[in-house]
Homo-oligomer: 307 residues x 2
């Protein structure tokens, strides 16, 4: 299939920089429509969990990722690489990260799940790491340091920020769900009663002004579909990246019903359930089979919405 | 001088893992008392800013850092490496980071200024990256994802978390200084009137329960000494890491008067003013001279407090 044969580092021969192609929101929705899937495969590749026979390879992590990408490419539109898994391997892990990012074919939306964020010029260096040294389309960013920690990532033409809004872990209750004082709440409901506003809602409403829907997405955990629905009402047009389906307990059907919009608007990430479907030499085949099951489910859910 | 001759990777011969030595709060204060300084030198080493003659070296970034460390070791107690500068160089940048961390002598407190934070098992992998693959004493962590994103770093015996509380950039106003609804404020002043509470204050009061003062510090920007004084009242015994003196406009004297406690309790980070004091072959000598000036100033300020 076309998607599987042109890695990013070979694209366009010698004429174009490998980062000159950008996946736009339009292109992402086209891929979703064409392939009937909004699956993002999480390449959270842990050296302690990959099949033992791969340890003979010069780069076991990359060998694993390569086979997973080949096996699942027909059934997903995006790949997300959580940088922690690569950094834990030291400098050679960073090489595996780079090689994997370069191997993923260009029509796929690629996410460095790095949760970075620093003062302006320093965030600019992280942008260089993921958008220039490596050909990622998007980086996840933590919002705590505010606008000037996020906007340097948007200075790279065509690249995306995926801002943490509401995460799927239990610790999301510690700060993200604190309620703000009405004084600092900008909007109220009709009768003048100030509306309850959570920190994560303020993060969304403030940051939505930093970029248009073609450059900014939000991370919204799958563990509470009702909150996902509330966020969808706040930002009807943004793509949402939803982790936490499967291993973390989120439900694909509930998430999709709560979060879909007129151009799907969702990327649902699954990692362990797909990449570790088998611990043996058939891991690629089993990953493909799991990805296909998820794709078939997503095709039904897309059919309901777009019928 | 003793501090300059035993890099971490050579310490204790072949018997001890290079990470088996930990800088405790007690040890840190001893170093401050002995050397009359609470300077942390920020190795924010940018390939575009180092003296041109170093570009002939096989690893220009490490060559620069090595000379800066040798030049400044008499006048500081800590080194902070902001990971963005190293990641922007790709896999070889990560090698420079590792080599630098291993080169710093063991009595220095070493900080990976990485601003990480992810769901539990993933934060655990970041901890492995900085505390096992590399011999850092501390990692800076962003608080947005809550307790289970921070505590995995504390599972590494003797290692420190330095949590972002109030940063020195303009974007710190976007979320860190939002006021929380009184309902969610735990404490009030005597007359029952609920006290105004900022998000950064809640981050501190909540997280202070996650570890003792021997394992947790806070990042507090130097740009507002009055807020630093308020934070010192909240947490009288914690060390505070203060960036933003010098290039970002903070004032060493105001910061020290507002933030010092009975065991100093401060690490003040300077980077550009020291490491780029000269752009020529004398960069080491000039860095030493700048570091010495700061140390002399700190010695006076320590003398006032501990007189």
């Amino acid at each position: 299939m076309f998607f599987r044969i042109i890695p990013r580092n070979l694209r366009a021969g010698f004429l174009l920089h490998p980062n000159s192609y950008h996946v736009t929101a339009e292109e992402l929705f086209n891929q979703i429509s064409l392939k009937h899937t909004y699956l993002c495969v999480g390449l959270d590749t842990d050296i302690r969990k990959i099949p033992p026979h791969l340890h003979q390879e010069p780069d076991p992590i990359f060998a694993f990722n390569k086979q997973i990408i080949d096996a699942t490419a027909d059934y997903c539109v995006a790949y997300k690489l959580n940088t922690a898994f690569y950094e834990a391997m030291g400098p050679k892990g960073w090489e595996s990260l780079q090689k994997t990012a370069e191997y993923i074919p260009e029509h796929f939306f690629t996410i460095a799940d790095a949760k970075r964020g620093d003062i302006g010029n320093t965030s600019g260096l992280y942008a260089r790491a993921f958008f220039e040294q490596m050909p990622f389309d998007a980086v996840t960013v933590a919002p705590y340091m505010g606008a000037d920690s996020v906007t340097p990532f948007l200075d790279c033409a065509g690249k995306w920020v995926i801002l943490l809004a509401l995460t799927s872990n239990t610790g999301s209750g510690d700060f993200q769900k604190l309620t703000l004082q009405p004084d600092s709440v900008e909007t109220g409901i009709g009768d003048g009663t100030p509306q309850k506003e959570y920190l994560f809602e303020r993060v969304i409403s403030t940051s939505a002004g930093w970029a248009d829907t073609d450059r900014m997405m939000y991370v919204v955990g799958a563990t509470r579909a009702d909150q996902l629905a509330g966020i969808r009402r706040m930002i009807p047009d943004h793509f949402l990246l939803v982790p936490g389906v499967g291993a973390q307990g989120g439900d694909l059907e509930a998430v999709s019903r709560a979060g879909m919009n007129s151009r799907c608007g969702l990327l649902v990430n699954l990692s362990r359930a797909i990449i570790y479907a088998s611990g043996g030499t058939d891991f690629g085949r089993q990953a493909r089979s799991e990805a296909q099951k998820v794709q078939a489910h997503m095709e039904r859910l897309l059919g309901e919405y777009f019928a």
